[in-house]
């Protein structure tokens, strides 16, 4: 048949079937529904969704199979060789109409009030297939009179339910929270939370998105509009490097909804709470709408015109600044902006000092890029999920990259594979893992070294001396990581027995860079054993990878080309500033004052910079210290590109103009450059992208056309969007493990990262996201809470050396003992105060407040 097997491990058996007389050949076990759709026939469905388990409950998809008396649900019936299927006979049509009549019998039919009206699948189906007259005259059954809130973001009206169970299934199979269930039976079955109580869940609203009718609804969007009044832009979520596709929509200039689309983007219909409800920052009152300048030395920031702000910059910022000028760009700016930013620093200000982000050391970044093979091009998460073993280390993926986590959960549940998770904190994905390793914070290096030793044990066994040395070393590592030899052996065995392995390495490696070397070593070792190893970074800022690939880094330029003379990274620049030798610093879209680990140091350093320009959308901690503040644009106000953690270059689209006098960041950067050099450019985003494409083989094929078209069979992996590989000479420096700044009188090691509902400090401006939490929290393990006589919900005092804060205690089952977690997102609990420059994971003690 000329069919090439696509996956060599899978046997493809093809069968031929007839659909409405049309003969087609499909893979055996294909569902009749998919086969019919392939052949070009539409079959209506309610309960079918490609990425959920089939339940065949709604019977909308009934088809006739020649020779069989009863109609069959096509969404759960696989094809058989030679059968003839009819999808449009009068029997089928009347069955569809009857199913709809039954659904409407007890349906609330309050379309005028229902928020789903206008985009409701039930409306569409009845319009297309249904009886346009009802025969049901009896009083309708009602679950309840008034809509009830299930959470701060979900409002429920069960009277409109069609019992498709998609909400329950998405919550269980994709999100993994499993907090929804069905009460009752038959058409009295109500999918809801248990006993309709208020949900304490991930608030991601995926149940809302999959619900075909107005049963699960968005509370923040309630009674605000009709869908036809909305104007939308198909864009990318800016809150983590998963890079979910979503549509943000506004009415009269106010963004009121973000939604994901079935079969579009790698995330299909799913998003997390940040993506779905974090759009409120766009219309926040706190947005910067005008430039601010400090007219006197210790004066306040006052509104100014762009001309004045630029004049002051020109006066005080020396071109040809050389080493005393520096630039830090945030990893949320678009790729084009980041490219132009480094060009501005390098070509106009003639300084090698550029860096992106606020938290990671530049040398660590270089090592991490090398260890995770980023320069070798994009790696799709779907390819990673085809491996025998997926090893997640150094990431709280459930909170930092929720949709990546959904993908891992969903795919790993459907096939035989190992999911191994190593990390100090318990997380939701643990339930999908078949091996969990709970180690201390900052102990990734010890764990990886231990497993490397164990895999190499056979080689070392030849000599007794070596074995003894190995055992001693192994013991040391195990102690440092807080693991047993059995844990490490189990991991080594699973790795040894897998032919293909995907390592997903998170930002802990950047926070504690001594692990990078071992990560690289493990990768090389496994490759030397003949295994197919893919490495995928898990990053928490939407365009972090784009920033690095555009050369916003002191050691390399665009496309990882080594810089002729490496400059200072963020740590170097701050050290220089603290030494009084920084003349000017330009920070765009980054907030080091709030996020750099060691608050006292960063604030002192920034206040000693002779001239500080900050460009952002809010008056951040850093902006407060600035001499000139320039108002930039949010993701909804610009065209551009973001590169996600896999290396997928995806487009963001402009929906609204920036508020007030604020400007698109690209225009600000370009105008700044033009002030010194008239020819600085390119002049707009499209031209910048052209320049990037011409100059950089990695981005040569990147296209402005949207990556994914809508599809129904969940082919979500668009490989064309992945950036290409390049040759890069990156060095992995050796980092020594830094000792913790505090001693053992502080019993807890402090771990940090992004909260599930927040991304950096940006999302603090979303009221909905803030309201999801009752307060800022510190999280410890159940055992520790018990041992120290503390209970969840209590107010506790968390104190480190020189700083303490009162927080609410939360308790998590399965977290490593002796680990406390505070998210880095809260203004009132700046976790960077606990950290000390050059020291390891800080230690704290927790007492009743």
């Amino acid at each position: 048949m000329g069919l090439q097997p696509i996956n060599p491990y899978k046997r493809y058996i093809m069968v031929t079937v007839k659909i409405n007389g049309k003969e087609i050949t499909v893979e055996d076990n294909t569902l009749i529904l998919d086969a019919a759709r392939d052949a070009g026939y539409e079959i209506p469905t309610f309960c079918y969704q490609a990425d959920l388990m089939g339940i065949g409950s709604c019977r909308m998809c009934l088809v006739e199979i020649e020779g069989q008396k009863k109609l069959q649900p096509s969404c759960v019936t696989p094809v058989l060789h030679g059968i003839s299927i009819l999808t449009e006979t009068p029997t089928v049509m009347s069955a569809r109409a009857s199913m709809l009549e039954f659904l409407l019998a007890n349906h609330a039919m309050d379309c005028p009030v229902c928020d789903k009206g206008g985009e409701c699948e039930l409306q569409d189906m009845v319009y297309k297939y249904g009886p346009h007259k009802g025969r049901h005259a009896e009083p309708k059954f009602k679950f309840h009179e008034k809509d009830y809130a299930l959470s701060p973001v979900i409002i429920k009206n069960s009277n409109r339910c069609v019992q498709c169970m998609k909400c329950v299934r998405v919550c269980r199979e994709v999100v993994g929270r499993n907090v929804l269930g069905a009460l009752g039976r038959g058409d009295h079955q109500e999918p809801t939370s248990f006993f309709r109580s208020f949900l304490d869940c991930d608030a991601d609203g995926n149940c809302i998105e999959v619900c075909p009718v107005g049963c699960f609804m968005r509370l923040p969007y309630r009674y605000k509009t009709r869908p036809w009044d909305l104007k939308g832009a198909d864009t990318i979520c800016p809150y983590c490097a998963t890079g979910c596709r979503m549509v943000i929509e506004h009415r009269d200039g106010e963004v009121i909804r973000a939604r994901a689309q079935l079969g579009v983007g790698m995330n299909s219909e799913t998003l997390c709470a940040r993506g779905r409800f974090g759009y409120e920052i766009i219309n926040s009152e706190a947005r910067l709408t005008t430039p601010l300048v400090r007219r006197q030395r210790h004066g306040t920031l006052e509104p100014a015109t762009w001309e004045e702000a630029f004049r002051i910059i020109k006066e005080r910022m020396p071109s040809l600044g050389g080493n005393t000028v520096g630039g830090i760009a945030g990893a949320r700016l678009a790729t084009e902006e980041l490219y132009l930013f480094q060009k501005l620093m390098r070509e106009v200000f003639k300084t090698p000092n550029v860096d992106s982000g606020s938290r990671w050391d530049a040398a660590a970044v270089e090592g991490f890029i090398a260890a995770t093979d980023m320069a070798e091009g994009g790696v799709s998460v779907f390819d990673c999920m085809e491996a025998d073993t997926v090893f997640v280390i150094g990431s709280q993926v459930s909170e930092e990259n929720p949709v990546t986590e959904y993908i891992i959960r969903r795919i790993s549940a459907g096939r035989r594979m190992n999911v191994i998770i190593a990390g100090p904190r318990a997380m939701k994905l643990d339930s999908s893992a078949n091996l969990l390793l709970r180690h201390y914070p900052a102990a990734e290096a010890a764990l990886l070294s231990a497993v490397i030793l164990d895999i190499n044990a056979a080689k070392l066994a030849a000599s007794a001396d070596l074995t003894a040395a190995k055992d001693a070393k192994l013991d040391g590592h195990l102690k440092a990581a807080g693991l047993t030899i059995d844990d490490v052996r189990a991991l080594a065995t699973k790795l040894r027995n897998s032919e293909s392995i995907a390592i997903m390495a998170g930002t802990e490696f950047l926070r504690y860079p001594h692990g990078i070397e071992s990560l690289n070593l493990l990768k090389e070792l496994l490759r030397s054993l003949g295994k197919k190893v893919r490495v995928m970074p898990l990053l928490d800022r939407s365009n972090q990878r784009g920033a690095w690939e555009m050369g916003v880094h002191p050691a390399f330029g665009p496309g990882y080309v080594k810089a002729p003379a490496p400059g200072l990274g963020i740590s170097g620049m701050l050290d220089a500033a603290a030494d009084n030798s920084m003349d000017a610093l330009y920070i765009a879209g980054a907030d080091p004052a709030a996020l750099y680990p060691d608050e006292a140091h960063v604030k002192e350093a920034l206040s000693k910079v002779r001239f500080l320009v900050v460009q952002d959308i809010f008056l951040t901690e850093t902006a407060r210290l600035a001499d000139v503040v320039l108002p930039g644009a949010s993701f909804a106000e610009k065209d551009g590109m973001l590169t996600n953690q896999e290396g997928r270059a995806q487009i963001i689209r402009k929906l609204l103009p920036p508020p007030g006098k604020a400007k698109v960041d690209l225009d600000i950067i370009r105008a700044l450059g033009e002030m010194y050099d008239r020819s600085f450019g390119p002049k707009n985003a499209a031209l910048v992208l052209d320049e990037i494409r011409r100059a950089q083989p990695m981005y040569a094929d990147v296209s402005l056309a949207f990556n994914n078209k809508r599809n129904v069979d969940n082919k979500l992996d668009n490989k064309a969007a992945l950036v290409k590989g390049t040759k890069a000479a990156l060095t992995i420096r050796k980092f020594e493990q830094a000792a913790s700044g505090q001693d053992a009188q502080y019993p807890f090691m402090l771990a940090t990262g992004n909260h599930l509902f927040h991304s950096g400090r940006l999302t603090n401006y979303s009221k909905t996201l803030n309201d999801l939490m009752k307060g800022m929290t510190v999280e410890i393990s159940e055992e520790d809470a018990l041992a120290s006589g503390l209970a969840a919900g209590e107010r506790v005092l968390v104190s480190g050396a020189g700083f303490s804060v009162t927080l609410m205690l939360t308790v998590k089952k399965g977290t490593k003992r002796g680990v406390a977690f505070i998210a880095e997102n809260f203004d009132a609990a700046p976790v960077n105060r606990f950290f000390r420059k050059g020291k390891g994971a800080p230690r704290v003690k927790i007492t009743k407040a």
Binding site: C111, P112, V113, K146, Y223, K224, R226, W228
Partner: protein
């Protein structure tokens, strides 16, 4: 054929000489003046005002239930159906019983400068909240006053629904700070003569 034409021309000539058509016209005109029964002029606006039939399509009115609750559920169907897009509806939630449902209109306004009085909005309305009423004195001095909003439209119009209309009512002019108003006395009406 030719003869006929000739005869016709002569008749015409005679008519013209004797001013026959002119006299006929004057008879009708004077007839109205002589007998009050056949006067069809309505002394609008000084003394009388025409009260249209129910089917008339004038200024929109937003209706309430008998117990005073707003019928409009802010479904926006009227604004969707409107061919000139002159209705703006912005919904909101209200649990105080203002409307028949917890969805009520925060904004409901119609721009009469654009309205065609086609009545599509009325047809689209699932709750019979919006009706085109019998107010037709819509002239005003600037365009803003041609935009009528919810508060105004919810006030009952002077001609009640029960009244079938098609009569001329006694009226008087009233001068208000906003301009001149014609106030009809619905208890004193007369049939219109045709």
């Amino acid at each position: 054929m030719n003869e006929g034409k000739g005869r016709f021309d002569i008749m015409e000539l005679i008519k013209k000489v004797l001013f026959t058509d002119f006299v006929k016209g004057l008879v009708i005109t004077f007839g109205y003046n002589v007998s009050m029964d056949s006067v069809i002029t309505v002394k609008y606006p000084d003394e009388e005002k025409w009260i249209p039939y129910r089917r008339f399509r004038g200024l929109h009115t937003l209706n309430r239930t008998a117990d005073g609750r707003e019928l409009c559920v802010a479904c926006e169907l009227c604004s969707k159906a409107c061919p000139t897009r002159c209705i703006t509806v912005i919904p909101m939630e209200d649990n105080t019983g203002r409307g028949i449902s917890d969805r009520v209109a925060k904004v409901w306004k119609v721009d009469l400068v654009r309205c065609l009085f086609c009545g599509y909005c009325e047809d689209a309305c699932p709750t019979r909240a919006v009706r085109l009423g019998r107010e037709y004195e819509l002239a005003c001095f600037d365009r803003n006053c041609a935009v009528k909003n919810r508060e105004e439209l919810l006030r009952p119009q002077p001609v009640p629904e029960e009244m079938s209309g098609g009569v001329v009512a006694k009226a008087r002019l009233r001068t208000t700070p906003d301009g001149i108003e014609v106030v009809a006395d619905l208890s004193e009406t007369r049939k219109r003569r045709v």
